[in-house]
Amino acid sequence: MATISKISNGEGEKRLVSVETGGYVKVQQSEYPPNDGRDLQIIYRNFLTLNNDGTTTSMLVDGSTTSQLFYIQSDPVNDIYITSLSIIIQANGISLGQDFAGDTTGLVNGFRVYYEDKNGEINIGTDLTTNFDFIRLCQGNPAFGTDSATNNDAFIIPNLSTGGAKGKNPADGIIPVLDINTIFGFEYGLKLFRGTNNRLVFEINDDLTTGLGVDAGMNVIAYGFERKFE
């Protein structure tokens, strides 16, 4: 036989917890964060690098014969939660038409963005052949700028490097941000489990060492946090 317990107020006035229609316990969320002195959450911010070498951030490599992989990998001790990815693609003449980094054609094979966990390789984006494909993958985040009869400036930022200027002069670029929570519904972000080979990968399948616009550049920064364990 079960014992019936009423949850009572531990301090002051005599009050009991209410259970509503449907069996819901009424709770009230604190506006303050918990007083938790364990310090188990650490900022995580890293570039994706070639074969995770920790150094090579420029993605302007030749992946046309052998695919080239830029990635971050799980940590041996802490879980990593990736909350957002910041992508920069820049070049003279960059546009949201049929173009990748000023090549004025778009890529033949395109990028693949995926992650690996014990469920295998899970695609986040495939056939990313143009600047606009990255903007769409990120669902237009952040949204800024406008097109006009004379200039197409929506989503294009000027002055990303010396010599840049509004109006598609050298080194204008796009800066889409993939928000994992908003787009995919992962409350804490995408998890790379500690002590595994989990990784987040940008796969390059074209030759990006040639044919792009002047002052071309591309890199990706992953943002999120590490969750420590006691």
């Binding site: 014992t3 019936i4 317990s5 009423k6 949850i7 009572s8 107020n9 531990g10 301090e11 009050r15 009991l16 917890v17 209410s18 316990v25 009424k26 709770v27 009230q28 969320q29 604190s30 303050y32 964060p33 938790d36 959450q41 879980d79 546009s95 949201l96 038409g97 049929q98 173009d99 014990k118 469920n119 899970i122 695609n123 986040i124 606009f132 903007i135 769409r136 669902q139 237009g140 949204a143 800024f144 700028g145 406008t146 097109d147 006009s148 197409n152 929506a154 989503f155 908003t182 787009i183 995919f184 519904g185 992962f186 409350e187 804490y188 995408l190 998890k191 489990f193 969750r227 364990f229």
Partner: protein, 216 residues
């Protein structure tokens, strides 16, 4: 017979949980995720395809005589939660006036977006007969541009790419669920002839984002 119980700090501080006026138990959420190593949640991203064939994502088909349906379907072993939908409509001459993909007029019947679960067919959007109908369905997300070019990417072939966020627009905190082992579907129904009469370089497709929960 019942007895009153206090929730007491297990760490030995002697603190008891407080019940506020109205019978509310005070709670406080952790800001760090739980230590759960089951790895049951994976990214989901797929185009809606003709009859769910997994291949045909171009929606420029003739649905004027027989409606054509593009959909994703529930999976046998994983629940799918759809969090966002990305629409893409492009054509030369595309505007937010009376226009669908550069045809210079409204569609006669319009598209219908709906899902099917055990409650039947539930409409998400009906009479979507213009570019603007999709922008409005998505409540102007993502907002960019001004005036004639508001919400329009003009470079290359002009296009709109509004995004429907189920949490923000409909209050589905986890997204729209396609229950595993059922025939649940998310469907865009074409009820007009989109194979002709549009502007040059037309395109129309829909990409679905979300996650899957793998059953243990």
């Amino acid at each position: 017979m019942s007895k009153n119980t206090y929730i007491t700090d297990g760490g030995g501080s002697g603190r008891n949980a407080i019940v506020d006026e109205g019978g509310y138990l005070r709670v406080q959420s952790s800001f760090i995720p739980p230590d759960d190593d089951r790895d049951l949640k994976v990214v989901y991203r797929n185009f809606l395809t003709l009859d769910g064939d997994g291949t045909t994502n171009s929606m420029l088909v003739d649905g004027s005589t027989t409606s054509q349906t593009f959909y994703i379907q529930a999976e046998p072993n994983s629940d799918i939660y759809i969090t966002t939908i990305s629409f893409f409509i492009q054509a030369d001459g595309l505007t937010l006036g009376n226009d669908f993909a550069g045809n210079g007029t409204l569609l006669t019947n319009g598209c219908r977006l709906y899902y099917e679960d055990k409650n039947g067919e539930i409409n998400v959007g009906t009479n979507l007969d213009s570019n603007f109908s999709f922008v409005r369905l998505c409540q102007g997300n993502a907002p960019f541009g001004n005036d004639t070019f508001a919400f329009i990417k003009n470079a290359g072939v002009p296009a709109i790419f509004p995004n429907l966020n189920f949490k923000k627009v409909f209050g589905f905190n986890q997204g729209l669920k396609l229950l595993s082992g059922t025939n649940n579907k998310l469907i865009l129904e074409i009820n007009d002839d989109l194979s002709t009469g549009l502007g040059t370089n037309p395109a129309f497709n829909v990409l679905v984002f979300g996650f899957k929960i793998i059953k243990e």
